[in-house]
């Protein structure tokens, strides 16, 4: 009976990420202060950002480089703790219940890499086991994902022998081994060739159809326009807009998200002055 309820709950697609007034401040050491040309030893990377993302949608965190997208996504993924505010993933606090959140979450980025010495096959098993998956589930998932991304051809080659595209595919497959409900993807197509990029965005759409919650970050507005259902525009750490794609276009009287973004960006800069 309990099993049934659990199953219904899982099917009922109740996944939700709530960002509540999140501020993230980095402490800078002397070297970083010099690098960032900052006279302060604090860097406010994210300032009082709030938004909610739900299952069945691809939510875009958009903004130029240095806006604070990666920082925000890392906070959601439980890798960083917000300095102020809190983040709830399916009602679980990222600060206190990280382990439970990570059970149902995947965080992908091209900064997260896989050990060059190992093969995709080995790493898939390794991560699957650490997710506590039974061997037959690992086997099944591996077949599914390796089929989809065409990884079998190089599944026994070491990561260091693979091309960038192959590496990214393998790393996506491995990150999704545990069939997560929530997928956080930092700059999904960054550095990928056009074909691999398409395979990745298509797969994200497929996941959306399956009722997963997907958060992606990107600075490429044309990509966001094609991919995202709803979005938050982050400019210099603050949230300048959040809503659906249609709303973003409508309030800026344009058909092009990039134009809409520049309109918002201009307004923020004016206020700053």
């Amino acid at each position: 009976m309990a099993f049934l309820i659990l199953k219904i709950r899982k099917e009922s697609r109740n996944h939700m990420i709530e960002i509540q007034n999140v501020t993230k401040i980095y402490k800078l050491n002397k070297k970083q202060m010099a690098e960032q040309k900052s006279s302060s030893s604090m860097k406010v990377a994210v300032r009082q950002v709030s938004f909610t993302a739900r299952d069945g949608e691809i939510f875009g965190v958009l903004g130029p480089n240095g806006a604070g997208k990666t920082t925000l996504l890392r906070c959601i993924a439980t890798l960083l703790q917000p300095t102020e505010g809190k983040i709830l993933v399916n009602g679980l606090d990222t600060g206190k219940e990280g382990e439970q959140i990570r059970r149902i979450t995947a965080f992908l980025t091209n900064e997260i890499k896989l050990d060059p010495h190992f093969t995709p096959k080995y790493l898939f098993r390794f991560f699957g086991r650490l997710h506590g998956m039974p061997e037959e589930d690992i086997e099944r998932r591996q077949k599914e994902l390796f089929d989809y991304f065409g990884i079998q051809e190089f599944e026994d080659k070491r990561m260091e022998e693979l091309s960038t595209g192959m590496k990214q595919k393998a790393s996506i497959a491995v990150s999704l081994a545990h069939d997560p409900d929530i997928i956080i993807f930092d700059e999904p197509t960054n550095g990928l060739d056009i074909i691999t990029a398409r395979a990745v965005t298509d797969y994200l759409r497929l996941l959306r159809e399956k009722g997963k919650l997907i958060i992606v970050s990107t600075h490429i507005m044309s990509e966001a326009q094609k991919l995202c259902d709803r979005m938050a525009m982050i400019i210099q750490g603050t949230c300048a807009f959040q809503g659906t794609l249609e709303e973003a276009l409508a309030i800026n009287h344009t058909e092009d998200l990039e134009d809409a973004f520049f309109e918002m960006y201009r307004r923020v800069m004016e206020v700053e002055k």
């Binding site: 050491n29 997260i112 050990d115 060059p116 991560f127 086991r129 650490l130």
Partner: protein
């Protein structure tokens, strides 16, 4: 617990599936140890050749007439005066009445040039003839150097094959006096009998330096593995993937630490095995030269093994702690280098330390090197040994715990 095991297995697989790493960790150490021993053996052997020309010489000062007579008639080859053969050894006997030659004889014993010095008291024969009940028997003095093989053997041979029969013959002449069997004594009144070069006695140092060197080499081996496993994983960007797993960060740390321990422990076994294998090459010649046995007893080996294994744990945990602070491999080795120097310095300090109290074995790093040294010389005490082991385990556990704490720190883990 399960996660720790999985992480550990991966780290082990990482090394065992890499031929270069196997070579560096296990094959090369064995070659190095055997090489060192062979080299020492060869050097020792060439020294031995110099000694092959050595003619065992015995200087006898103030010999009594009866003794001179005894040697001439009983032991000496009439064709070759001054030569006495005992077993296979040919001894040159030199007689002297000159006191300065007697004094110089002691120095020659020290330097290994002379093997045995016998000194008769004045009026030896008279004392024996006119022996009265209750009076002290005359004392024959011997001087020798037990850390010299030749000297040690010479004394044994001469006492057994010349002095003892001589005593018997004197006893025979005094057959009437059954009550007093002591004709004369040997070294009863001579505390200076042993003339030993303490530096040579420190041939033992060889034995001490070798296990100590092994711990240092182990540290060096663990450095590259440890920086790779902790700092390298950060540098390559593979750490974040581990941190995204639904497991405790401490499980990752402990998994990595256990793997490092096993690898370094294996490495230690290789060193140890190579030592045991190479030891016969060395001690056959070196042991002859030093006049002592360099073989380890099983108890010594067990104690050494326990010290080395626990010390490896301490090293590995210390390296992990340093490497965790680092962003990349380069920074990691920068942090570890001074620590390494300090560990070596502490070790060297302890090698030359003569007296220790048990409580000093508790001092991390220092205690273990003293223990290694004193296990070899049989000077280690049971509490001292246990203290050293305890100190390794406790300090190692503290470092491991601190490393796990550092893994919780996002500035440490994500300071890109």
């Amino acid at each position: 617990m399960k996660a720790t095991a999985i992480v550990m297995r991966k780290e082990l697989y990482r090394v065992f599936s890499d031929k270069k790493m196997i070579f560096g960790l296990f094959v090369m150490p064995a070659m190095v140890v055997i090489g060192i021993y062979l080299l020492m053996g060869i050097m020792a052997a060439s020294m031995m050749q110099d000694r092959a020309a050595h003619e065992p010489t015995i200087l006898i000062y103030g010999a009594s007439e009866s003794f001179q007579e005894y040697i001439k008639t009983i032991k000496q080859d009439p064709q070759q005066p001054g030569i006495v053969t005992i077993g296979n050894t040919v001894y040159h006997i030199v007689w002297t009445e000159d006191e300065s030659e007697f004094a110089a004889g002691k120095d020659r014993i020290y330097s290994g040039d002379l093997d045995l010095l016998l000194s008769f008291p004045e009026d030896f024969d008279e004392q024996i003839m006119e022996y009265k009940e209750g009076a002290a028997a005359p004392d024959l003095k011997t001087f020798y150097n037990p850390s010299e093989d030749y000297s040690d053997n010479a004394r044994r041979d001469i006492l057994a094959d010349i002095i003892e029969p001589y005593r018997q013959s004197l006893l025979g002449q005094r057959i009437g006096d059954l009550e007093q069997l002591t004709v004369f004594t040997v070294d009863k009144e001579n505390d200076e009998s042993v003339i030993q070069n303490d530096n040579k006695a420190q041939g033992k140092l060889f034995g001490t330096v070798i296990p100590y060197m092994i711990t240092i080499l182990l540290f060096a081996g663990a450095v590259s593995l440890g920086t790779d496993s902790f700092a390298g994983e950060k540098e390559r960007g593979t750490m974040a993937a581990l941190l995204m797993l639904p497991i405790k960060r401490s499980a990752i740390v402990y998994g990595k630490l256990f793997a490092l321990m096993i690898l370094s422990g294996f490495s230690a076994l290789v060193y140890g095995g190579a030592m045991i294998f190479a030891m016969p090459l060395l001690y056959r010649t070196l042991g002859d030269m030093l006049g002592q046995d360099l073989r380890f007893s099983p108890v010594q080996m067990c104690m050494m093994l326990i010290i080395i294994v626990t010390l490896v744990f301490l090293y590995v945990a210390l390296i992990a702690l340093c490497a965790t602070f680092a962003k990349n491999m380069k920074e990691g080795s920068t942090y570890i280098t001074p620590v390494y120097m300090a560990v070596i310095a502490v070790g060297v300090m302890s090698i030359f330390k003569e007296e220790v109290v048990d409580i000093q074995y508790l001092i991390p790093f220092y205690g273990s090197t003293i223990a290694l040294k004193n296990i070899f010389t049989f000077e280690v005490t049971v509490p001292g040994f246990l203290f050293a082991v305890l100190s390794n385990l406790l300090t190692g556990a503290l470092f491991a715990w601190l490393t796990a704490r550092l893994f919780q720190n996002e500035r440490i883990m994500f300071n890109t």
